[in-house]
């Protein structure tokens, strides 16, 4: 029985997108059909190889913040003119007479407008938790600057950070958070009531600021329980191989970079020690929060860059790659001279590879190519190596 070649559209219908699927039996023995099939598969394969330009996490956060701001500002529920036309006079009368709570979908009521202008710094993460008149933002990471118009007797505006609350009535102020922990509040105009869950409530006026109280010192800083092997170059513990294996590093050895204790330094060291113990216990969220507190206590302190590095590692190990990308970017931006910059760069590079941000990843690998540590240089070389080609199967042409 002779083979009847299918039409172009029939052949196309047989292909369901699986580039590696075997040829349908009805055309496998026909050379002409096989050639047409291979051309079709090749065209789809090339089209799939077109680069996908995904946004950076900073750009994504900006788009998200703008989306939520626009959604808050737009009327809700949305105006539904066709429904308004079919609503009978009696129902319409109830709506007009104030049945807004019962018939909100009739589209005759508009929620109060926002009295708040939000300026979020790059890589800030926040969300609108409730709309006016009792407007609430929840801040997770980063800094937002807020201008709040006078709200009158019936409006309110709050910023929530974890369990802490900042309540305002007509003012300009900035709030900074790290991993859902309130780090700072600074007031430019008006009055702001800061209500930390743990700690004393504070009423701030113009020019005043608030930061959390230092961690209470229980005991002087003591050597961490880990005693990793040190390499000679920078007192760094030896590391496991890359690219995506768990880091097996430890904190800086005691005395290597620590100043003689002052009350503030002891608080930093104690907080660092607690955070490190949490990391060892695989309590990554507590570790990230703890390292965040170290940074807040002394952003320019001796442990700050280490804390920023380990905070980002803890976030990554907590299974939050997008937040880890932001955390590593913040660390590199805040501490460009840190001895950890090479390690941070390659870890961030591999996170960006997973996020398909290959150009940014390559730039980071190049920046780490001359790191003093061989394991960092080796990881950077692997990151810059060309990806292996997938083997061809099933009779598909070897060319793209």
């Amino acid at each position: 029985m002779s083979h009847l070649c299918p039409s172009e559209s029939e052949l196309s219908r047989m292909f369901h997108g699986d580039l590696d699927a075997p040829l349908p039996a009805s055309i496998a023995l026909c050379e002409a059909c096989r050639a047409r099939w291979q051309q079709l598969v090749r065209a789809v394969r090339i089209a799939r190889a077109l680069p996908v330009d995904l946004p950076s996490s900073a750009r994504r956060d900006e788009v998200r913040a703008e989306l939520l701001a626009r959604a808050t500002a737009s009327p809700w529920p949305p105006v539904r003119r066709p429904l308004a036309r079919v609503v009978g006079p009696a129902v319409a009368a109830v709506v007009i007479m104030g049945g807004l709570a019962l018939f909100r979908t009739a589209g005759r009521s508009r929620p109060p407008r926002s009295h708040v202008t939000v300026h979020a710094q790059p890589a800030t993460r926040y969300e609108v938790a409730s709309a006016p008149p009792d407007e609430t933002l929840r801040l997770h990471d980063g800094t937002i600057n807020l201008d709040v118009e006078p709200l009158g007797a019936h409006g309110s505006f709050r910023v929530l950070v974890g369990d802490d609350e900042i309540v305002v009535r007509g003012t300009s102020f900035a709030v900074t958070a790290a991993s859902d922990h309130l780090m700072a509040v600074a007031v430019t105009r008006g009055r702001v009531d800061v209500r930390p869950r743990r700690g004393v409530e504070a009423l701030l006026g113009p020019g005043q600021s608030w930061t959390p109280a230092p961690v209470e010192v229980v005991a002087p800083f003591s050597q961490p329980a880990i005693a990793p092997a040190l390499d000679n170059e920078r007192h760094r513990p030896a590391r496991a191989s890359l690219p995506r294996a768990e880091w097996q590093t430890g904190p800086p050895p005691p005395g290597a970079r620590l100043r003689p204790s002052t009350e503030q330094t002891v608080a930093e060291e104690s907080a660092y020690n607690d955070a490190w113990n949490a990391l060892r216990a695989s309590d990554f969220r507590r570790a990230a929060a703890g390292f965040g507190r170290v940074i807040a206590l002394a952003p320019a302190g001796a442990l700050a860059d280490e804390a920023a590095f380990w905070r980002a590692v803890a976030i990554a190990r907590d299974g939050s790659p997008r937040r880890a990308i932001v955390a590593f970017q913040q660390m590199l931006a805040a501490y460009p001279a840190s001895p950890r910059r090479g390690e941070a760069a390659v870890i961030l590079g591999w996170l960006l590879v997973d996020a398909h941000q290959l150009d940014e990843a390559a730039a980071l690998f190049r920046s780490a190519a001359n790191d003093p540590a061989e394991v960092v240089r080796a990881s950077a070389r692997r990151g810059l190596a060309p990806p292996p080609r997938a083997p061809e199967r099933g009779g598909v042409s070897g060319q793209l």
Binding site: E8, G17, R42, A47, P55, L68, P386, P387
Partner: protein
Amino acid sequence: MSDQALLAACATGDMAALDALFERFHIPLYRFLGRLLSHDRPACDDLVQATFLEVRRVARAFRGTSSVKTWILGIGSNVARHQVRSERRRSARQHHYAEGLSAISVRPDEQFEQRELLQQAARALGDLPHHQRVAFVLCDLEQVPGVDVARALGVPEGTIWRRLHVARKAVRAALETSGR
């Protein structure tokens, strides 16, 4: 929370649900719109926002005949069709593909050949009418089943197959004409 439950919450004006939908679907939407628009980045940002605002507005209308993801991509397709019209933008978008190749190095000759092929594919894709481009990107590049695409776009399945066939033919012809 399931995608459907999130969408239902979004339909009540729940901002946290809208945020969660963005978190869950912004990557596939960016990828789809990027492929549809040849990676015109500012336009993609605007269209992603416009898509989610539209999702919020019409969330009540979701009937569950397709997945939530495909439904959102379908809304993105309609938003893109209404907003992107300029031929000048299309030319600029096609240029962007040449710049968008990864900086991670391959052999220079392979890189050149690859760049040529991708430019041909990008041009062919950019020249397709909107409906055919949507069918090709959703079915062949995003690998969404044709029946799901048909339901999300509200057209018969045969229509999707027809558009897909014409699109595939055009892309294939462009690549064969280039001699590779």
